[in-house]
């Protein structure tokens, strides 16, 4: 689903009036809009770290443009991503979702790296992405970049199944703004706004705030689910981003964000959970164009506080993450570009309910990337990263473990390689491989022991001896541009294998230093899968369309009964998924229809009586939107999801109801 972006009319106007000669400040930060306007296609840095055209990246990538987001009518990121081939969205409730790339999705999916303008926004307490807490409004997104396959060599931990980079309008380059208001079924109501404010060519800020509230689904209520369905799903976010041109060769930026969400979703073991989450972040960034390349330094800190209620327990979590990154991107020769980077990361989680114990790790990483244009038709990319991770623990002896167990460090190598061969002007062949590292998350490492337990007492603890999960992937892809339909066809075959899969093991106690112990993180086997992806996309006159199919064959080798860990990837990875997106534009009208069909899958649901395997047979699913541009600044739309039935079984959670909403959007 590659899409030529059509900028909002106000941006086109701004671009036209400034026209070329007065294009704005010297761009140490990439000016996505101007470069896309120049090359006639989206541009990205998400494949290699180097600015590239979407059609030239050495990775399987989909870029969803702002125009597509607008015309989809979607009010959430997962509703947009659900249209992309290879993406799997689990809809747990009216607001709670998880997103997976090429299978292996689950409650609290810890295999996906999500970025906003390069800042990691997944949450380290379990490596999950809280989609409603991502502090961007739909209207302030320039594009969403989906890179499939392991990308750890470039981005580090969690980039195991893929990377999703959300790129917003730039406060220094873009003149953009919008206020949106929506109402819909499930008593959905949303209001949000964003605006870029420029100070000549030397600085700009982007401010953004908004939120929505929605009732839970009424479907399939039971006394158990009612405990979690009493509360609305809520989202509140605010952010301020700024960028300043301090001299012709240097830019400085500062960003702060805040978000709060509460929603019902399933936890990794298959249990029900109602959580409230509050996050904030601060980020500083400096970029300089120097004689030794484009230097960049970034430091940011984020905090997460959660309050979770589960079937048989509750928890409060406080985590802090600090990341410092430096990199140099340099064009060494006319054909060779290199990126050298270093990263420091400190992750900490506080003990609960008794305070005073901190568990976490410090990570030090070095990486490099080379992109070589070997000839006019062949380009090669190679990237490698070394991570050194040292655990940390402060407080009393972490029973059943000892301080010596937490005095541990481990090293990991990740890599990416790719060859793009432009066989003809219309055809290109992509060969790629990657090794991704799924680092243990903070819950898997945590320990909250405050005193010596009586001998033989059952203990629940994180595991300092857990190993990272390692995913290796190999892919062959072919892409053929089809001028007659203004589009392309694409086919790829890939194989992925993950070893040392990590699970919460609350069923099979291990004897550790004399204590039977349930481990919150346990390496319990491996899994491998073949993927086929086929995609055809075109645009003919007023029609735009995209048709895709993904086939997946999964083989697990897990050392414990699936029911005990609540996961069975052979059954939960859909064997076939077909998606069709069709749009038609006429004058002020735009229409958009997105159809999905997925073969039957099975997932575990944990209820008080134990775990049960739920058959998920959703059949054909549909999202649709009709929009009308009332004035150049005002757009009205009516949209919906899961439209074909009153209730659809989309996951192991209670069925999802049909959702319909109306939106008014006014450009600021």
């Amino acid at each position: 689903m590659k899409m030529a972006m059509i900028m909002p009319s106000r941006l086109i106007l701004a671009a036209a009036t400034s026209m070329a000669l007065a294009q704005g400040a010297m761009a140490q930060s990439m000016d996505y809009g101007s470069l896309q306007d120049l090359f006639g296609e989206p541009v990205t840095t998400s494949a290699t770290g180097k600015p590239q055209r979407a059609s030239e990246v050495p990775a399987t990538m989909t870029i969803v443009t702002a125009d597509e987001i607008t015309k989809s009518g979607a009010r959430t990121l997962p509703d947009v991503l659900n249209r992309v081939v290879g993406i799997d969205v689990l809809q747990w409730s009216s607001t709670g979702t998880d997103v997976g790339v090429r299978g292996y999705n689950q409650g609290g999916n810890p295999r996906l790296l999500v970025l906003v303008n390069g800042r990691q926004v997944y949450q380290d307490f379990y490596g999950i992405t809280l989609w409603s807490s991502i502090p961007v409004q739909m209207s302030e997104i320039r594009q969403i970049e989906v890179v499939k396959g392991p990308q750890s060599a470039l981005f580090g931990f969690n980039a195991v199944s893929g990377v999703i980079n959300i790129v917003t309008y730039n406060p220094l380059y873009d003149n953009a703004g919008a206020a949106d208001i929506s109402f819909g079924t499930q008593n959905f109501r949303e209001i949000n706004a964003f605006k870029t404010l420029k100070f000549g060519n030397w600085g700009g800020v982007r401010v953004s705030a908004g939120g929505w509230t929605a009732d839970p689904f009424d479907s399939s209520r039971t006394p158990l689910t009612n405990r979690f369905y009493d509360k609305d799903g809520q989202r509140r976010t605010a952010s301020l981003d700024s960028l300043f041109q301090v001299n012709p060769d240097t830019q400085v930026g500062f960003e702060t964000t805040w978000a709060r969400q509460s929603e019902f979703a399933l936890i990794p073991s298959g249990g029900l959970g109602m959580g409230s989450y509050t996050t904030y972040s601060f980020k500083g960034n400096v970029k300089a164009n120097t004689g030794i390349g484009l230097l960049e330094g970034t430091i940011y800190h984020s905090n997460l506080k959660t309050n979770g209620h589960y079937t048989t327990s509750s928890s409060q979590i406080n985590t802090d993450t600090t990341i410092a990154q430096v990199q140099d991107l340099i064009k060494l020769t006319d054909r060779l570009t290199s990126r050298v980077a270093g990263e420091f990361r400190e992750n900490k989680i506080d003990s609960w309910p008794v305070k005073g114990i901190t568990t976490g790790y410090r990570n030090y990483a070095l990486s490099t990337m080379f992109d070589w244009q070997a000839s006019a038709d062949i380009s090669l990319t190679a990237a490698v990263r070394w991570d050194h991770t040292a655990l940390l623990h402060t407080g009393p002896r972490p029973y059943p473990f000892s301080e010596a167990d937490y005095d541990r460090s481990f090293d990991n190598i990740s890599y990416n390689g790719g060859i793009v061969w432009r066989v003809t002007p219309q055809d290109s062949l992509l060969l790629s491989t990657g090794r991704g590292v799924g680092a243990p998350n903070l819950i898997e490492l945590s320990n909250s022991s405050v005193s010596k337990p009586p001998p033989g007492q059952l203990i629940i603890s994180g595991n300092p001896n857990i190993n990272p999960s390692i995913t290796t992937s190999y892919e062959v892809g072919w892409r053929h541009a089809i001028d007659s339909i203004n589009g392309f066809g694409r086919f790829s075959v890939s194989h992925q294998k993950t070893k040392d899969l990590r699970f919460i093991n609350l069923a099979s106690a291990k004897l550790i230093n004399g204590y039977p112990t349930f481990l919150l993180g346990d390496n319990l086997g491996s899994s491998k899968a073949w993927n086929l992806e086929a995609e055809l996309q075109g645009r003919v006159e007023a029609f735009r369309w995209n048709l895709s199919w993904m086939w997946m064959d999964t083989n697990d080798d897990i050392k414990i009964a699936n029911v005990l860990i609540g996961q069975n990837f052979e059954k939960s990875n859909a064997r076939n998924t077909v998606k069709a997106n069709l749009g038609w534009d006429s004058g002020p009208w735009s229409t958009d229809l997105s159809l999905r069909w997925q073969s039957t899958t099975y997932r575990y649901l944990e209820i008080q009586a134990g775990k049960t395997l739920v058959e998920i047979k959703p059949g054909l699913m549909a999202q649709a939107s009709v929009g009308y541009q009332v004035t150049p600044d005002l757009r009205l739309s009516l949209s919906g999801a899961d439209l074909l039935r009153n209730e659809t079984q989309l996951s192991s959670a209670p069925k999802a109801e049909r959702r319909v909403w109306a939106t008014a959007s006014y450009k600021l």
Binding site: S18, M19, A20, L21, A22, Q23, G24, M26, A27, Q28, M30, D31, S34, L35, D37, L38, F39, G40, V43, K50, P51, Q52, R53, S55, P248, N289, G293, L294, L329, K331, D334, T337, P425
Partner: protein, 153 residues
């Protein structure tokens, strides 16, 4: 020597003797070149002078693409002080070269010769060529991200 060989020799001779100039840029090439000029540093001031030599590009198309500039037809030799000069040959580019002047060629060969700072192709896809030697001689540079997406020679 048979007739075919004679024709081939004549053809080579004619090509060698022909002035090194390409066809006049079309509107799409002009638009792309104008957009590429937006990535030049230092930036052009408002109302910057742009000269278009005969056969280089349609003057109206250049004026349309560079609405903020003062565009005029002229000779390469009289382009002193211009921010950009659209030229039809490497020889013209050499005449136009001066500090701060970006020479835009209507043929990639002009960049290959190190005479033009920039030239563009629009088929089968947009490709931008920059001569590092010509850019250096002109005292201009380009946006660092832009430079990583073009072909430097």
């Amino acid at each position: 020597m048979n007739t075919q060989k004679i024709m081939a020799v004549l053809a080579v001779g004619l090509l060698a003797a022909w002035p090194a100039s390409g066809a006049e840029m079309d509107a799409k090439q002009v638009t792309i070149a104008a957009k590429a000029l937006g990535f030049v540093t230092p930036k052009a001031p408002a109302g910057a002078k742009v000269v278009v030599t005969p056969g280089a590009a349609p003057v109206a198309a250049v004026q349309s693409a560079l609405s903020a500039a003062s565009v005029a037809a002229g000779d390469a030799g009289g382009a002193a002080g211009a921010f950009a000069v659209f030229v039809a040959s490497a020889d013209e580019a050499k005449k136009a070269n001066g500090k701060g002047t970006v020479t835009v060629g209507n043929d990639v060969a002009c960049v290959d010769a190190g005479a033009c700072v920039i030239a563009v192709e629009t088929t089968p896809k947009v490709t931008i060529y920059v001569s590092k030697a010509a850019a250096s001689a002109a005292g201009v540079d380009f946006d660092p991200n832009f430079k990583m997406m073009i072909t430097e020679k």
